[in-house]
Symmetry: C2
Subunit: 291 residues, 2 copies
């Protein structure tokens, strides 16, 4: 794809999607954008992105379409709906779902796309709001090697650690591995920070000791400081994390895999959802356990 005449469509301008789309725009590509709530695309439009009123319009005009929507249902609708991508994209178009979604759905998109001469990759990301802002996302990709190589320059605009994990669905499966690790780790990080507080320690000084050692993790370094400050604003939404864990649990169950940590985490975050705090950041688990 040459920049001069390549148009990239971006569907889904959320916390992450907006930063990602900005980087593509900054790299000099024509950007066509669609979002369910139009106002969220205003800033991008001011910076030169072209607003499209429907997914179909984006699909018809773009040479590559990136989707970054909320839930598997949204992915399903955007790809398979009457005015969706697969009914409207030209043969030869690249479609890349960067939403964290179901591995089985990624495979379904791939097969249907292939039938129409469309190249499909599943490419969910990790790294949260900060990673998206700094173009340092981890991108986990499933699909054909040739397609991956052709799209790599675009991935490199948004991320740093970009790995082809296997055939269609492998990107989503890898993202599930990522979320499974985080699910249990969030519990440990929350419990430890509460323990520190109740033991009369200074939690920030505790972090100086434990962040660099065997307990060290991204969550401990990045989310524990927010917990301590009582900052529960979303880097990563509780409601999205619950969605991811639901997918992972269903997949694990289908594999006959024992995942007590994932189950416990899902149970705790469901409690947070019941408190209507799905729009908070995942670090709010700290607050739930502080009771």
């Amino acid at each position: 794809m040459k920049k001069a005449n390549a148009a990239i469509g971006f569907i889904g301008i959320g916390v992450m999607g907006k930063s990602m789309a900005e980087h593509i725009l900054d790299a000099g590509y024509s950007l066509l954008v669609y979002n369910r709530t139009k106002s969220r695309a205003d800033e991008l439009a001011e910076r030169g992105a072209v607003w499209k009123d429907t997914v179909a319009e984006v699909a018809k005009e773009a040479d590559m379409i990136i989707t970054m929507v909320g839930y598997p249902n949204d992915v399903e609708e955007v790809y398979f709906g009457n005015n969706g991508i697969l009914s409207n994209a030209k043969p030869g178009t690249y479609v890349i779902d960067m939403t964290t979604s179901e591995p089985s759905l990624a495979k379904k998109i791939y097969v249907e796309a292939k039938n129409k001469g469309i190249c499909s990759l599943d490419a969910p990301v990790s790294g949260g709001d900060v990673g998206a802002k700094n173009a340092e996302l981890t991108i986990m990709v499933g699909g054909d090697k040739e397609d991956f190589e052709n799209v790599l320059p675009i991935f490199e605009i948004m991320g740093k650690n970009i790995v082809l994990q296997g055939t269609a669905g492998a990107g989503q499966h890898t993202k599930m591995c990522n979320q499974i690790v985080i699910a249990s780790n969030m519990i440990g990080v929350s419990e430890a920070m509460l323990y520190a507080k109740r033991a009369g320690l200074d939690p920030e000084t505790v972090l100086k000791s434990i962040s660099a050692g065997a307990a060290g993790s991204w969550s401990l370094s990045n989310l524990a400081p927010r917990m301590i400050k009582g900052d529960f604003e979303p880097g990563f939404f509780v409601k999205h994390f619950v969605k991811d864990m639901s997918i992972a649990l269903a997949e694990a169950e289908a594999m006959g895999l024992r995942t007590p940590g994932l189950q416990l985490s899902k149970y705790l975050y469901d409690e947070i959802m019941e408190e209507h705090k799905g729009d908070k950041g995942t670090q709010i688990l700290y607050e739930l356990l502080d009771k």
Copy 2:
């Protein structure tokens, strides 16, 4: 303490203790060693350490005594037994318990030591066998600031991240925070690696994607590769981890703190203990869940 005439006693020559004692010897200090199983001190003796037949002999002759034993009961005996440290050490001696042990016991040692003019610090470590070998341990210290500053040069021989966390017991409490984080994270890491295998992914390629992102942790980088290879040899013993978690659970309960992740982890590692695998490394949780 001047090297020329300072004798350091080291009690407890286990996986960690041996490396730590070696570094002190290499730094040029006189080293007096005692261990329940004498043969474990043979190599140190060949390198110039002086074997002592009892804790009391070490205590009488050393200017500073480091203890790195197994369980709180061992700590209790080594410090408070008839032939223990506190009955035999000279006033002005520094006693430093680097065993992971009970915060309340650390306070008890401190008070009793203070009564006898002995300076006590609790200074448990993190970083495992590799950290001990490379003199890169994290050392979490509780006690008086002046004592901490006097002992710091010795800590710096064994570790890199050395922080005074507060008064007596604060080192142990900080170590509990460390273990609480690890307890849940080990579950997530194990589940994710098993998920990767069952989903038909290449677990090592998955690690390339997820180790650097929001799921990244010391355990994921250092223990997941051992899980994948089926290497369950101890860096950190299951039996010691179970001991640590028991202490943390008791403390958390006393604080009225909800620790479902810690409870779950303790439950799972108890299953491993029932399989008589307490001498394996903590990464063996992977094997338990692979059923």
